[in-house]
């Protein structure tokens, strides 16, 4: 009885205390908030440690709990990733083609050529050792055999065969490719022959003239602009062969066009009718100055004691 009374008294005291705490908290007494804040300050290092230690375990349980969802989410993300990659590649491709097209239009516009743009849809097989590409425009677009084909930088080749909606282009790098060339400025003429890569051979027709490294070559042009329109940039001289006893001077030329990156080309369907001269000679690359900063420091007199 005595124990029961004491227990009840204790219970009443504790209940009153609890109600007192609730009342204090509901009335916004700051002491309660401070107690809570203090306990959290003490507990937070333990919680941080627990979080660090238990992260792998949590991840494991999370993976187990969401096994199906995680798997489907991974698959969904993989599919999205593949789509985005594809879009990005297409975008990069489109950007590159746009850049090439812009350059081609600039080139053709300067010369006054009437052109038909076409996309490269196939690179020719190298089994026959021929350097060719296939474009997505043909006779329907007004393209005919033996028309000059331009890249963004200059000559790309010549139309070898044409079909209603496609055409086969013989690249200027093809070993059987021949084009009449003249050196910008000196107007010396010669014949340029492909070598199967980006370099070509130039054979000058006049033995009394000389050629220098760095000189630019342009197309000489054909009768009625067929197969070649005049004034198209071909390349520049990288080496000169001055061997004694040669009938004519020869030189090695590097084409402006990078044949391995052709995405868009333009077929010249009619020339201006007049020779553009040297107006299409590409500008020499400018050396970009590296900015330097000079700092002047005037030493202040140090006090001496």
């Amino acid at each position: 009885m005595r124990n029961g009374g004491r227990a009840r008294l204790l219970l009443v005291i504790l209940i009153v205390t609890s109600l007192f705490l609730i009342t204090l908290d509901l009335r916004g007494v700051k002491v309660i908030g401070s107690i809570k804040q203090g306990s959290q300050t003490i507990m937070s290092p333990f919680q941080r440690a627990g979080s660090v230690v238990l992260t792998p375990v949590k991840n494991f349980f999370s993976d187990v709990t969401h096994l199906g969802r995680t798997r489907s989410e991974i698959q969904k993300l993989q599919a999205e990733n593949a789509n985005l990659k594809s879009t990005l590649i297409n975008r990069k491709n489109a950007d590159a083609q746009l850049k090439q097209l812009k350059s081609i239009l600039d080139l053709a516009g300067t010369a006054g050529y009437k052109i038909v743009n076409a996309k490269v849809i196939s690179n020719g097989s190298s089994q026959s050792f021929a350097q060719t590409i296939t474009i997505d425009s043909g006779t329907n677009a007004g393209i005919k055999k033996n028309m000059t084909v331009l890249s963004q930088d200059g000559i790309a080749g010549v139309v070898k065969d044409v079909y209603p909606s496609s055409a086969l282009i013989q690249l200027a790098s093809d070993p059987s490719f021949r084009i009449g060339a003249r050196i910008a400025g000196t107007q010396q003429i010669g014949v340029l022959t492909g070598r199967g890569n980006r370099s070509a051979s130039l054979q000058l027709l006049d033995n009394s003239t000389t050629v220098k490294v760095g000189e630019v070559l342009l197309s000489r042009g054909s009768i009625a602009d067929n197969p070649y329109v005049p004034g198209v940039p071909l390349g520049y001289v990288t080496a000169v062969d001055n061997s004694a006893g040669a009938i004519a001077q020869t030189a090695t030329i590097r084409y402006y066009t990078n044949f391995s990156t052709l995405g868009v080309v333009a077929v010249v369907i009619s020339g201006l009718g007049s020779n553009p001269g040297d107006s299409l000679v590409p500008a020499k690359p400018r050396v970009t100055p590296i900015p330097t900063v000079t700092v002047f420091v005037t030493p202040s007199p140090t006090p001496t004691k």
Binding site: A7, I22, K36, Q40, Q47, A49, K58
Partner: protein
């Protein structure tokens, strides 16, 4: 006697509280999870006299109110746990069928766990604490009960040994 028993039990309760806050709270368990402190307190209450159960209920409730996850006013858990501790001890302590039977203790703890949570929700509603939709509350209550049913048999041997250890130290 009471003071000695409580003073020995206090560090254990603090340790359990720390485990609850630093470890158990790290896991976002489905169905609301469980509170190891709540289960521990209720188990302890079943095995203790009413006075001890009331005091440890008060202390455990106070610790639960200190938790950052406590949404209600400070003292709400204190009051509920105090009453729960006293009530569960009052019903269970004198009944040897409960105290000496592991299944009986687990049954008591799980039912008490559910009733405590219901009381918390109900009193919270009276005090203006939002607990979510009715369906959500039901799901959480069911989930927590299931967790208690799952966890209690695992923890009971540890808790009962700890309790016996303190009782023995009291007797010595």
């Amino acid at each position: 006697m009471l003071t000695r028993q409580i003073s020995i039990a206090a560090p254990i309760f603090l340790l359990i509280y720390a485990i609850q806050e630093a470890v158990i709270s790290q896991f976002r368990l489905p169905g609301g999870g469980f509170s190891i402190l709540l289960i521990f307190t209720l188990t302890w209450a079943v095995l203790s006299e009413t006075e001890v159960a009331a005091v440890i209920g008060f202390a455990a409730g106070f610790l639960m109110d200190l938790s950052q996850s406590a949404a209600g006013p400070f003292g709400q858990w204190t009051l509920i746990m105090l009453l729960a501790g006293y009530a569960i001890s009052y019903i269970g302590y004198g009944d040897d069928n409960v105290r000496t039977n592991a299944i009986g203790i687990i049954f008591f703890v799980v039912i008490a766990n559910l009733l405590v949570e219901i009381t918390y929700v109900a009193s919270g509603a009276l005090l203006g604490v939002s607990s979510g939709s009715f369906i959500q509350v039901l799901i959480t209550l069911f989930g927590m009960s299931m967790w208690a049913l799952l966890v209690s048999p695992i923890l009971l041997p540890i808790f009962s040994r700890l309790h016996a250890l303190i009782i023995d130290s009291r007797s010595a």
